[in-house]
């Protein structure tokens, strides 16, 4: 109990917990779940964007997108490393992903249909992610917080690039404008669902906030995102696909329409439009690559043996 008290006190004082420090098992488990889920999201998130690298409309856009997807892989790596400091191995985490035990962000179960989707993902999806992640730069677990600092910096860059791509299209041909609007229509609701269930239905939130694993509630973050993003939609000359959206002078926030939680939970359950594709692609990459990993291990083992001899 002394340990618990000391831990709670440190967290309450906004000090970082480090890998060697004592921590409650539930804290450790919650963090592993959250960090690995975040890592999985980065890796699975490479797929909808990777879908457009080969079809990027210019060499410049191709290079930007390649670099972006590479960054996401990099985020996946730091995050797996952060989770490893909590005693979970990469293989375990990846197995949990492939078996469907571990989750990843529901947003990546939607397809990318046009080039505007790439802009929309950078702007809306990375934008929502940043909103979620900025507070995590001060999360109580040190390695996670430090990973978040780097991730957030890169995500902000991606968000600007995504929005920039949409500005160009919104000032382009009628077909390009139509693609932008269609992308916003399709990504808007899934993006604002990325903040998770509303606070009434988010049982773990209170504990997570006390432990400084989260620092703001889902609905607070969602509101922040909507308030920041609506003006950007309008600046593009586009519409927000929400008939109930309007500025509430009194609250100083946008009011917005009801979210389709049935859709949200269905996608969480793995019934999103491209969920099967995503899992099949990840499993296939892993299975097809088994011989390469085995070869690298065998080579490494032999090399070490030689070095030792």
């Amino acid at each position: 109990q002394e340990l618990v008290d000391a831990f709670e006190a440190r967290v309450a004082a906004d000090a970082f917990i480090e890998p060697k420090d004592w921590m409650p098992e539930a804290y450790r488990r919650t963090l592993i779940r959250q960090i690995s889920q975040h890592a999985h999201s980065e890796i699975v998130g490479m797929l909808p964007e990777g879908n457009w690298i080969t079809r990027a409309p210019s060499l410049k856009r191709k290079a930007i997108l390649l670099a972006k997807v590479q960054d996401e892989g990099g985020h996946g790596l730091y995050l797996y490393s952060a989770a490893e400091t909590l005693g979970s191995s990469r293989e375990e985490m990846i197995d949990a992903l492939h078996s469907g035990k571990a989750k990843y962000s529901t947003i990546f179960n939607y397809p990318t249909l046009t080039w505007a989707d790439i802009g929309a993902i950078g702007w809306l999806v990375d934008g929502a992610a940043i909103m979620n992640q900025v507070p995590l730069q001060r999360t109580s677990y040190g390695p996670y917080a430090r990973a978040m600092v780097r991730v957030c910096k890169e995500e902000s860059f991606h968000q600007r690039q995504g929005y920039d791509a949409l500005i160009v299209m919104a000032n382009g041909t009628d077909e390009q404008k139509a693609m932008v609007q269609d992308a916003i229509d399709r990504w808007w609701w899934p993006a604002i669902m990325m903040f998770g269930p509303s606070d009434d239905n988010s049982p773990n939130s209170a504990q997570s906030i006390r432990w400084r694993i989260k620092r703001e509630t889902n609905d607070e973050l969602r509101q922040k995102f909507i308030d920041a993003t609506v003006p950007q939609v309008l600046l593009l000359g586009m519409k927000v696909p929400d008939a109930d959206l309007k500025w509430n002078e009194e609250r100083g926030h946008y009011d917005y329409g009801a979210l389709d939680w049935e859709e949200f939970y269905a996608v969480v359950r793995g019934e999103g439009p491209t969920a099967k594709e995503r899992m099949e692609a990840r499993r296939k990459a892993w299975d097809d690559g088994a011989w390469v990993r085995e070869a690298a291990d065998a080579y490494e083992a032999r090399r070490r043996l030689k070095a030792a001899a």
């Binding site: 690298i53 080969t54 409309p57 410049k60 856009r61 990099g74 160009v168 085995e294 690298a296």
Partner: protein
């Protein structure tokens, strides 16, 4: 003469772009995240080289075609890349075999090209040669790791090399374009690259425990637009959006 320089710059750009495009197909599907990142990194370098070479080719041509115009609005017979780079990724063994052979060649080519009398080519090559040195090392390490890994990896690595050997001679092919530019000190004499290439390949194969290379009959044609069936399919995908919206800016 300008036409030869245009063609030469185009070939350099086409090589880089086609291989960059191929590598980018791996994105999200590689054996490990680390490999995924390193393949994307090589792809990114190659696309960057392509932008420079194709941009320069367009300037030399002087008909108002920029790098994007050359990349997205030429059909298969107008592409001048070597056949090796357009080969499908296959498994990781084939991808690595292609990368190792191509980057090893490209490294010594760019070493030479950095001393070209054409200042722009020299600059681009000098900038790119560090990247390419990394590609060559990275892929050589994988050749060794796979060759000296498991029985399966060794077989797959050998198969990958086997697929690509027939395209090696084309890398050193001399035609009127190359001849003219070599005479002017602009292009690198392919014959001068061959000993370095062969020595390096032999050394890596030896370390990998793979049999010495014995090149089969050369398959040629890429430099004059006579490609394998693979390139057309790649172009269909790569060019779809610019072809569909020819008036659009992105």
């Amino acid at each position: 003469m300008e036409n030869a320089l245009f063609t030469y710059a185009l070939r350099l750009g086409d090589d880089s772009l086609v291989l960059g495009q191929r590598l980018s197909e791996w994105c999200g599907h590689a054996p490990t995240i680390e490999v995924d990142l390193s393949l994307a990194n090589v792809a990114l370098d190659l696309v960057g080289q392509a932008q420079l070479f194709l941009g320069y080719a367009g300037e030399v041509e002087g008909k108002g075609r920029d790098a994007d115009r050359l990349a997205f609005h030429r059909d298969v017979l107008a592409w001048t890349n070597c056949l090796m780079v357009e080969q499908p990724n296959g498994d990781f063994g084939r991808t690595i075999a292609r990368q190792f052979l191509f980057s090893t060649w490209q490294k010594s080519l760019f070493d030479g090209l950095a001393a070209s009398k054409d200042q722009r080519l020299a600059e681009i090559a000098a900038k790119a040669v560090k990247e390419v040195a990394y590609h060559a090392d990275l892929s050589a390490e994988w050749v060794i790791r796979l060759g000296d890994g498991t029985e399966e990896s060794r077989a797959r690595m050998a198969d990958g090399l086997d697929w690509h050997w027939r395209f090696v001679d084309e890398l050193f092919q001399v035609d009127a374009v190359v001849e003219a530019l070599v005479a002017d000190g602009i292009a690198v004499d392919p014959a001068s690259l061959r000993p370095v290439f062969e020595a390096r390949v032999a050394a890596v194969l030896a370390e990998a425990g793979l049999p010495e290379m014995k090149l089969p009959r050369a398959i040629l044609g890429g430099r004059k637009g006579h490609h394998s069936e693979h390139l057309g399919h790649m172009l269909a995908v790569m060019q779809h959006i610019p072809r569909t919206y020819p008036e659009a800016v992105w």
